[in-house]
Symmetry: C2
Subunit: 199 residues, 2 copies
């Protein structure tokens, strides 16, 4: 039987490089997957139900919230998104480490519902560097960039919610840190105590 | 300024391979050192004061215990040993990760005195394998081996004191796990929060 997987929540300011760092750390690994969310919005061209999202209607979403079937959820202007607990647990029981890329509010909900989730906050080396990266994309107005920086400042205040902080200065090092966190978490007493019982 | 180091306590049954695993993990690293103990026994030929041990007399030892200058201490038939807090903190402040190879009772004392010490328990894959390894040394009587196994059984009951469990089945993997724990611990929120304050 495969060793049970972990739920890894990642958050961090837009532009901190979360996806790049995590993508590099989990490249080629078959014990890692991203969580699949439920959403009330309709599928876009090419999106596959059960792969990109689980597409559900408002009624089913409300039901899932009421019955505690979502690890976390958020509603935007006209649509809602959430992380289905059963899906995540099924993956973990099959030995997969499940990655959940969500915002601070969602991470707080996960923390309350799942004691042994691992929360990782990925940040840029400085706000100055974050500005530099956002400007480097060349796709956003000065106004949008200022709004993102302001939002990053707010998010950084919530860092104490997280177990680990990764500073994404050099991608290689940040990815190594992410991989080390994962390996170390699998060595935790609570994760391995069953081995002691059968010695 | 160097990032502050960590205090890493390692314990585990005799024959589990603690020194081999840790030795392999820290090979060539300049940010790692072993703690130097104080002892009331006299130096043996070749032992250097301040390197192998700090050699002190009974009166000074008693004083250190009374004034809380020892992170942990133990007394055997005629001599006492202890870990000097000031020495460990000085090393940590200079950026060194300090390794303390001690028994469970000592680890418990460290846990009480130093919140952020990292406690690692290194165990063999099974008691059967431990017996096999002890027998393989060819240096100990059946009686001694049975006594060690009995002691190992007792020690394993104390595993919940530790943050991490490393199963030393393959040395390479166990050493990788030790290195990962160290790297992950340096990413902990409490270790990095100062970075957030200066962003």
């Amino acid at each position: 039987m495969a060793e049970k997987g972990k739920l890894i929540v990642i958050s961090g300011p837009s532009g901190a490089g979360k996806s790049t760092v995590v993508g590099k750390a989990i490249q080629g690994r078959e014990d890692m997957c991203f969580s699949t969310s439920v959403t009330t919005r309709g599928p876009r061209p090419g999106e596959v139900d059960g792969k990109d999202y689980f597409f559900i209607d408002d009624e089913r979403f409300r039901q899932m919230v009421e019955q505690g079937e979502l690890l976390e959820h958020a509603s935007y202007v006209s649509h809602s998104y959430g992380t289905p607990k059963a899906f995540v647990e099924q993956q973990m029981n099959a030995g997969m480490n499940v990655i959940l890329d969500i915002e601070v509010q969602g991470a707080r909900q996960v923390r309350e519902k799942m004691d042994d989730a691992v929360l990782v906050f990925i940040i840029p080396p400085s706000l100055e560097e974050l500005r530099h990266r956002l400007e480097g994309r060349g796709t956003e107005s000065a106004e949008t960039i200022n709004a993102r920086l302001q939002r990053a400042r707010e998010e950084l205040k919530e860092a104490s919610l997280y177990d680990y902080i990764i500073v994404n200065d050099k991608i290689e090092e940040a990815a190594d840190e992410f991989a080390a966190i994962l390996k170390a978490e699998h060595c935790r007493y609570c994760h391995r105590k069953h081995l002691l019982e059968t010695m």
